[in-house]
Amino acid sequence: MRARLAGFSLERPGTLDEALGMLAASKERLTLLAGGTDLYVYLNAGVARPGRWLDLWGLDELRGIHEVGDHVVLGALTTYTELRASELIRGALPLLAQAAATVGAVAIQNRGTLGGNIANGSPAGDSLPPLLAYDAEIGLRSARGRRFVPFDRFYTGYRASVAAPDELIEQIRIPLGAGSSSRACRFVKVGTRAAQAISKVVAAFVLGRAGDGTVDHCRAAFGSVAPTPVRLRRLEQHVIGKRIDPALIRTSSDVLLSEIAPIDDIRSTARYRRFVARTAWQRFMEEVPGL
């Protein structure tokens, strides 16, 4: 451990209400600890923010995957292992299960949570593009009440979100039809190696077509190409109402390139990321079933 632990305190609420009470009463911003797969890394690297930490791991109210009405509701503490194992997720929201399978190693998947991935807000978070592609909403909870924020309006900048200091992520809500099997979908992760690699580019695509073959639904979400995970709305609009053909693949690729802003960093270059993002999209479009 590089961090001196004397600067840290850890509190362990027994119930969600107790946790919300602590958040409401605290003057300083509390650090929320779920599976620890990000925070412990920061701690070990000596860059964790000292102060009061709230350990949410014991709050069973934040667990579980349920079908509620026409939504799938996931507790914020749902782990990647649970996502991989859930029949409901594998059947209705397969991109989420696929993304979960690419996160770290099994030990990380046992501890890492969907809520933690969202709260950490890394632009490279692997579960985030599928959530964007599935029109997820984030259920924020505080002592003041509950509110839902569409996930594509959740982040306000690099690792910054609309969540208030007294709010925590309680659940993630996804429309049941978002991953309808009548739609083509794909999850793409490109890392430095085949496993246990942070993404150079990560993407999730969902595409539906009307009876006449024109595109009537499109979601294209990317990670690691901008300061936050992004939905490429111009790209989506560009293909809606059109038939998929080589010309559309070409023109939509140009739109894609105009809509992302990747950077050079230790894992890759902006140039390679642009190339790979475009290629991932082109491959998906070329391989949409029934073309």
Binding site: M1, R193, A195, L257, T269, F275
Partner: protein, 773 residues
């Protein structure tokens, strides 16, 4: 020594990490080769497997002593800078801090010609001050309280800049040195010449000249470097994660002025070295000094980041090679001009050289190599699994393929036609040489006949086959002493100084001793890696452990057996020559009358039998080398620029295989490490500060099992090897030598594009395919 051939010594030669060394050796008793064996050659399970998987095995990282302190080092954040002012008092006053050392406190304590704490940093990561505290967090906090006023000095990271006119001189003699283990030839390159290569190149029917580049690659041992030091009066005990306890001891004795009798170094278990743990390092000395200052044991274990930043890496290379051939494919000339940036290399340590393959892979009368080791403002490199040959093979083995393409010849045939019956350098015959068999058997296994030229391949996924070879001096030799004790109950202890790097040394020595003695594996315990209780040997480096210590263990076992049969002779009423040992009993060969080994030992006046033997000389007039040919089948994804190794065949001649399971594991590990070198691994740094940007396993990517081909097929292509009494040569380093070249050749066969810079990253491959936007 109780050997029959005691006293008479001769000079003999052994090759360590590509350099030939002369030593004195005592003649050894000649043992006939084993006939039918019951244990040797069998895949005995690792004798220490249960200890390792249950956590009972105690590694250096696991050592906990009463009152032990945690040592930490302050390292330079600058690539080159002078310490103008060093304020240690705030750190020293922090409660829990029991010792603080700056350069002034340890003046004169040197390692590899340099002070262990430096007031002038030669690289980012160099040790400036050290302290010890009651816990790791306090030590970290104390480090943050040290005040340093730095005077930055001009630095150079790249060899071209260090060689340029007007470059800052990093040492008084200038930045250019000869390579190898050095420095060899200050101010000049190291030159090797046989025949007249320039003239032969000029006259050759076909010539090719190419430039190849390889990256600085790091060992990434699972157990980071570290030591625990404890004083007892004038005596020092050090647990060190090392390949060689005796080299650590001599470094400590020399630096601290202690007699060998007062320094005990232990390493019963260790988690990987790959050449980076051949001797003591600065942290070893700092642990000992902090322990002396504080009067408490001190644990100095490097963090993963420090393990990357403190040095030890395979130096990068830039190699300009030329080859001359006849139209029919006979190699007539080879030249190499190689530049190796070697950072702040330590005297007597590895300096970087990559011209060996050009000198010794092929039969070629005209060879000239020029090797430059260039000082830069970088950490010191170290030996790394086949130092130099890995870089050199990446260049030469691609150039040979490029020549084959140019001539329209098959790469396997071109190689077979140019193999040398004798060592190309000395002209002496090899003691055994299975390289042609490696090529033939490997080609058959990979399906080489189905290889197609790149022009026949289209589409997004393209498959290719590639080959490359290796020759590596791996015959081992003296000094290596083994002692075997047969106790009164018939149990046996084998004492050897050899460290087991995880390769299975302890298991293989158990097999050798049990085989020769005729006792059960369960009766034998190997105790190793302790300078106080186990006898001398070289570190486990240079692929020499089995071929050096193995013969000594067999000799010691034979000596114990001789004494055992002598003792059994009166009991069984038969001459010793008519007796043999089988399954824990001494038995008459004809009558079958027998007596248990245990009851013989218990009947002896001494209640024990001790046999001590040493490895004899290598035979004169022959060259000892291991050989390998490797074949890669890759699939290139032309749209993402990624390379998947789909199949890999690794054929070897390293003499007799003593344990097929541990042997295959070692080869597969070498291949996987080679795949990392070929496709993934490279140190990246901030040019402004010289600090490493990927100092850690999060960003420095070594391959996972998913990056491995589903199977790495290992083939034993060894002819009998007569040069030692166990018939085995070394196999530690050859498996990594050809890997990157075999993969690059397969990529070229898949795509028609030549990737002359490692690692072959998607960005480089896409650029080569001209597919970038």
């Amino acid at each position: 020594m109780s050997d029959d051939c005691a006293e008479k010594t001769v000079e003999t030669e052994l090759e360590i990490e590509g350099r030939k060394v002369k030593v004195r050796a005592q003649m050894e008793r000649q043992l006939p080769p084993w006939g039918k064996t019951t244990l040797v050659g069998k895949s005995l399970r690792r004798v220490d497997g249960p200890d390792k998987v249950t956590g009972a095995a105690r590694y250096t990282h696991d050592v906990q002593l009463p009152g032990m302190l945690y040592g930490k080092v302050l390292r330079s954040p600058h690539a080159r800078a002078r310490v103008a002012e060093l304020g240690l008092s705030a750190a020293a006053k922090l409660p829990g801090v029991l010792a603080v050392l700056g350069p002034g406190d340890v003046r004169g304590v040197r390692l590899g010609g340099r002070e262990v704490l430096s007031a002038e940093a030669s690289y980012a990561g160099e040790e400036i001050a050290a302290l010890a505290a009651t816990d790791e967090e306090t030590a970290e906090e104390a480090l943050s309280l040290i005040r340093v006023r730095w005077e930055p000095l001009p630095h150079v990271l790249e060899p071209e800049d260090a060689m340029a006119p007007g470059a800052p001189a990093l040492q008084p003699g200038g930045n250019v040195l000869g390579g190898g283990f050095g420095p060899q030839t200050p101010g000049k390159p190291e030159v090797y010449e046989r025949g007249d290569a320039p003239a032969a190149l000029e006259a050759a029917e076909v010539t090719l000249e190419r430039i190849y580049e390889t990256p600085a690659a790091q060992h990434a041992c699972l157990e980071t470097h570290g030591a625990v030091a404890a004083w007892d009066g004038d005596g020092l005990t050090v647990w060190e994660s090392t390949q060689g306890v005796f080299f650590v001891r001599s470094a400590l004795c020399e630096a601290l002025g202690l007699p060998a009798s007062r320094v005990r170094v232990l390493c019963p278990f260790m988690g990987g070295g790959f050449g980076s743990k051949n001797s003591a390092d600065r942290y070893t000395l700092l642990a000992a000094l902090l322990a002396r200052r504080s009067g408490r044991p001190v644990r100095m274990v490097l963090s993963r980041r420090e393990d990357f930043e403190a040095g030890a890496y395979r130096p990068a290379s830039r190699q300009q090679l030329a080859i001359g051939l006849t139209r029919r494919g006979r190699i007539v000339a080879l030249t190499s001009r190689a530049v190796n940036p070697v950072g702040s290399a330590l005297e007597g340590h590895y300096f970087g050289s990559c011209v060996g393959p050009v000198q010794d892979f092929y039969s070629c009368a005209n060879v000239r190599t020029e090797n430059y080791a260039i000082l830069t403002s970088s950490p010191p490199p170290s030996a790394f699994r086949a130092p130099g040959h890995v870089q050199g093979a990446f260049a030469l083995e691609q150039l040979v393929d490029e020549a084959a393409d140019e001539l329209g010849l098959d790469p396997v045939r071109l190689r077979l036609a140019n193999l040398s019956a004798n060592d190309p350098d000395s002209g002496l015959p090899y003691a055994s040489n299975g390289l042609a068999s490696c090529l033939r058997l490997g080609a058959k296994a990979i399906g080489w006949d189905s290889r197609k030229p790149p022009r026949t391949k289209t589409g997004r996924f393209r498959s290719g086959l590639g080959v490359a070879i290796a020759t590596w001096g791996a015959g081992g030799g003296p000094p290596a002493v083994a002692q075997i004790v047969l106790h009164e109950d018939g149990s046996v202890v084998v004492l050897t100084g050899a460290c087991d790097l995880g390769t299975g040394t302890r298991t293989v020595m158990t097999q050798i001793a049990a085989e020769e003695l005729g006792v059960a594996v369960s009766a034998v315990l190997v105790a190793n890696g302790d300078t106080r209780t186990t006898p001398y040997c070289l570190p486990s480096f240079g692929s020499l452990t089995v071929a050096s210590t193995g013969p000594a263990v067999r000799l010691a076992a034979a000596e114990v057996k001789r004494q055992l049969l002598d003792a059994a002779s009166p009991i069984l009423g038969a001459p010793a020559s008519s007796l043999l040992v089988m399954r824990g009993k001494v038995r008459h060969a004809v009558t079958g009358k027998s007596v248990a080994v245990a009851s013989i030992a218990a009947s002896l006046p001494a209640r024990m039998i001790v046999g001590t033997s040493q490895r004899g000389p290598n035979p004169d007039g022959v060259v000892l080398a291991s050989f390998s040919a490797q074949f890669a089948q890759v699939e290139v994804d032309c749209r993402f620029g990624t390379v998947r190794v789909k199949r890999f065949v690794s054929a070897h001649d390293c003499g007799r295989v003593l344990n097929p399971a541990t042997w295959s594991s070692q080869i597969q590990g070498g291949v996987l490490q080679g795949i990392g070198y070929a496709l993934l691994e490279q140190r990246t740094r901030d040019p402004g500060t010289g600090r490493q940007l990927n100092a850690g396993l999060l960003d420095y990517k070594i391959p996972t099992v998913l990056d491995s081909p589903p199977e790495i097929e290992v083939i034993d292509a060894a002819p009998p090897y007569p040069a030692n009494n166990i018939g085995a040569k070394g196999s530690g380093e050859p498996p990594i030598i050809p890997v990157a070249a075999a993969i690059a050749n397969a990529v070229a066969n898949a795509t028609g594009r030549r990737l002359r810079t490692a690692p072959i990253t998607p960005a480089r491959l896409l650029a080569a395919l001209s597919a970038e936007p």
